[in-house]
Symmetry: C2
Subunit: 455 residues, 2 copies
Amino acid sequence: MILDSTDTICALSTANGMGAIAMIRVSGERAFEIVSSVFSKKIEIQKSHSAHFGVIKNVTEIIDEVVVTVFKNPASFTGEDVVEIACHGSVFIQQEILKLLLSKGCRLAKAGEFSMRAFANGKFDLSQAEAISDLISSTTEASHKLAMQQMRGGFSDEINGLREELVNFASLIELELDFSEEDVEFADRTQFNELLVRISAKLNSLIDSFSFGNAIKNGVPISIIGAPNSGKSTVLNRFLKEEKAIVSNIAGTTRDIVEDEIIIEGIKYRFIDTAGIRDTENEIEKIGIQRAIEKAGKSAIILYLFDSNEDLEKVKREFELLKSQLTDETIDVIWVANKIDLLEDASKLNEIDCIKISAFEGENLEVLTQKIIEITNSKQSQEQQVVVTNVRHFEALTKANNAIIEVTNALEMGIPGDLVAIDIRQSLHFLGEITGEISTDELLGNIFSKFCIGK
Amino acid sequence: MILDSTDTICALSTANGMGAIAMIRVSGERAFEIVSSVFSKKIEIQKSHSAHFGVIKNVTEIIDEVVVTVFKNPASFTGEDVVEIACHGSVFIQQEILKLLLSKGCRLAKAGEFSMRAFANGKFDLSQAEAISDLISSTTEASHKLAMQQMRGGFSDEINGLREELVNFASLIELELDFSEEDVEFADRTQFNELLVRISAKLNSLIDSFSFGNAIKNGVPISIIGAPNSGKSTVLNRFLKEEKAIVSNIAGTTRDIVEDEIIIEGIKYRFIDTAGIRDTENEIEKIGIQRAIEKAGKSAIILYLFDSNEDLEKVKREFELLKSQLTDETIDVIWVANKIDLLEDASKLNEIDCIKISAFEGENLEVLTQKIIEITNSKQSQEQQVVVTNVRHFEALTKANNAIIEVTNALEMGIPGDLVAIDIRQSLHFLGEITGEISTDELLGNIFSKFCIGK
């Protein structure tokens, strides 16, 4: 079993390469004994949470002057005895110390193995462990905040709360089964039904928060959609502040999807330039247009761009056509009238709600940016405090919710308690998977292998 | 003055980029106060060398869960109050914590500024500080060993010993000046002369160790020299284990110097392939040959390569010609007979001391490698325990030695004490520069600016 290894493990925990300082972490039953055998002080007799200057030596040869910090179990990251060795940051020294530790009986830690041990020792649950990995890879304020919230247990508390309530009812239902011949009802069906409605509402809201949470983690996708030559690539380049997409006066210049990320006010956005939508016989362009519509459908926000000199009726007609091809109705659409520097009759745009810009002149782009931020913030506040960012959680929540719906239906149809109990157990199982109360080696292996070495 | 800044400084001390853990170091008068203002515990009341788990927060927003280690002055790396913050290794978190510390009154540390403060607080002398920088950038066992020896003070002890003896005599000589009208001799001239001879011998041996020390630090240079088509490029490629130099049957294929490094038994070697030496009218080739001879003159070892089917008298004649152009007589030369796989009469090579190889077949290259290692090791053991690796030290030692020679000459010629005293002071000055007893802002700035940030 992946978790019951009692090996003492070691790894470089700081970033690869040369720095002023590097840190090597050792964890396990023999951590103190092994480090003592190469350090100038006895680790065993030191207090927990104490730091010691000394030398690491191989017999008589000094490898480095280091500071060693001692953490006694259970008061350590892994819950085991842990020693952290802060050495000079040369790659050569890092390697020599690791080699020495291996020769004394350590094993090189696998990716995420320190965190896996911490999880096994109850230091945190699975969703918190996953949050650590997210925390390390978060690059924006917003994604950092969500990961921190999850690591601090906000999400786990929510799940555990639901799970506990469900467990209480489940045990009552199961108790009924034991007394099935007496036809008693320990679990009040009305109360139970209320609970199911509440849980399902909660699960649905968590499930719904995923599209936002995922967007925060991976970038809020914004598609720039419109007729050929409306200036989509110029808008993209303006936002990215570089000549990412090729711009020309020839309609149909962009065929492939061109996209890149940019951080605005702590949130990562993924701007996506697409092929202009029109009827065309060109096969490559046709494929491009199909892809543009697909991308639009997966966006959080669509910038519907049009040339402000264009016939507005045509613009509206084309939008209806686009809209008919989108399945998700929750996507926000911002109408953007481009090329206002060339607009002759400014009043003609009054009848529609749009933002008037000139991408070419860089005019009014800050208004468009503000609108984007406003929409993102409103999504944020609509959502619960707790936001799901992890696709594994999203799937488990969806499965748990499906099982809850089954239970609800079963109750309505008056299906016997023992069958209802199975669905409740299913739901408990999926909720338990999120926090790791239910786990398999394969699941754990999958999760922790995505961690970096040394964590 | 560069050293008397009382700012509290902070920097990322671990390698750049994402890792499991990163470490931020804070040093200075306000280190405890500033970290306390953003950490969940009061630092001031903690014991020195204690580690504390807690959160770094900006008002109410939690930036990270961290382990903070406290070092109270003078028991710290810099000799000041120091706090080390081990945070999660995301670049975003590193930046947020640094930004927060800056907002609370820290200043970002300049390159080497922690070490400079340690030097200013007498934690180590200048040559030891330089050794830290060497230690961090050392990539081989041998260079690591020399840097560690220097950091542990071996070199400083040697210099300080010489300096002390010289100071004693200098004060006696200067005392004589005070009593100059009485014509007394406090300093025994015979003893003084003996001391000067001893110091000069010691300085010479340190100066001589530089060529070896420098080679260990930057790679032992080995030139492959010989007639065109003797297989020099094939030998190079064999050692580097890659097709570095273009190989063909056409004599004169190599014109530019081709070189690369490889580590053998913990020592870095720089193998240098050169143009084949012959009379030629080709102007480019002529320049190549001139460079080959220059490179040979700067090598630690020359591999004199020849085709074993070649007329041996010609081989010897050409070697004498080469030798006449080298000024350094201490360069070791290994005669290497190549292409022995094509050799018809094996006995013809008996009359000369050479290593017989076939670079093409890879035959006997291990014998050649052993010979190279043997020569390097013999150089190593010939030298003093203490080896000079730093060009700044080499120059200061040379200047100190020149001043000592001046003193010796002055004594011989019976020059008055006051003039002798000037030369002694010169010598003391240059020795003092090595350990930093004599230093200028410019010198310190030069040395520490080569350090990495965070050290």
